[in-house]
């Protein structure tokens, strides 16, 4: 894809982030009981949505890699896993920053929190496997692992319905637990994080392809000219 596409994507990311910040700080109402700290929630949930989207991409790209054995799917999976781990880390950092003043604790072993922490470890494990196992075996091992690790994503999502915990349930059947005026900034924030995720994955995948080309040429030079 062209440089124009990359530039357009980058402009879209910056524009949507600025729009999200304006929507959250100028238009979203201040929550009555929690106060201004509730505004963490917009980007906390945006990060969570981006992480889910990234891990879904890892899953899909891993399946496609195992089926086709084309390197581009492996590169896409690694790129998405890196961005997913970044957003999952942000979820795990911003959550406690909201929880401390609201719950009085940085962390509780709530089902949603615990399964999210497991999710983070699973995808850090993915990146470790991808780096540690050399050659084509590493790509296959990471793809199989990427498919298996995805099992935790629906568990994280449904954990607040399956088990009792302290984590608020924002998305519910028939409306949800949001005050009027909060849904729109939330949707804008989620969109902004999705566009940002797309930029990160795209840029990382371009570099992954470049890296593969450099390695191929270096090997060629070693074999032919030395």
């Amino acid at each position: 894809m062209s440089k124009t596409f990359d530039t357009t994507l980058a402009i879209a990311a910056v524009g949507s982030i600025v729009t999200a910040l304006v929507a959250v700080f100028l238009f979203a109402p201040v929550e009555k009981t929690m106060g201004i700290v509730q505004k963490i929630f917009y980007f906390h949930l945006g990060s969570a949505a981006a992480a889910f989207l990234a891990f879904t991409t890892v899953f899909a790209a891993s399946v496609l890699f195992l089926v086709s054995r084309q390197a581009r799917w492996d590169i896409l999976a690694v790129s998405a896993a890196e961005a997913g781990v970044l957003f999952c880390t942000l979820v795990l950092v911003t959550g406690p920053l909201w929880a401390r003043p609201v719950w009085g604790h940085w962390w509780v072993w709530d089902p949603r929190l615990t399964t999210t922490l497991i999710l983070w470890f699973l995808y850090v494990g993915y990146l470790v496997i991808r780096q540690a196992v050399p050659g084509g075996r590493g790509e296959i091992a990471a793809a199989v692992y990427g498919i298996l690790a995805y099992a935790d994503v629906p568990i994280v999502y449904f954990s607040i319905r399956w088990w009792r915990g302290m984590h608020p349930q924002v998305i519910q059947k028939g409306g949800g637990g949001l005050a009027p005026g909060m849904a729109e900034p939330l949707l804008i924030s989620i969109t902004a994080f999705a566009v940002l995720l797309l930029v990160m994955i795209r840029e990382r995948a371009v570099l992954g392809n470049l890296e593969a080309r450099v390695e191929h040429l270096e090997q060629f030079v070693r074999e032919e000219y030395q």
Binding site: M34, G35, I36, V37, K39, I40, F43, H44, S47, E82, A83, L86, T89, L90, V93, T94, L97, W98, R100, P101, L196, M200, E203, R204, L207, L210, E211, R213, V214, L217, E218, V221, E224, Y225
Partner: protein, 50 residues
Amino acid sequence: MNNLFYMVMAYTLIWMAVLVYLVRLGIMRKKLEARMARVEDRIREVEQNQ
């Protein structure tokens, strides 16, 4: 610590992390471009000598 501190901390950490990751990608790109230039120079050098 008041609520404002937690909120500012959360937003600062989010954008710092995003920035650090994008800078990392930028550094990675520079390094790869340098490696590519070295390989291309080597190929050109050998082809000129042949």
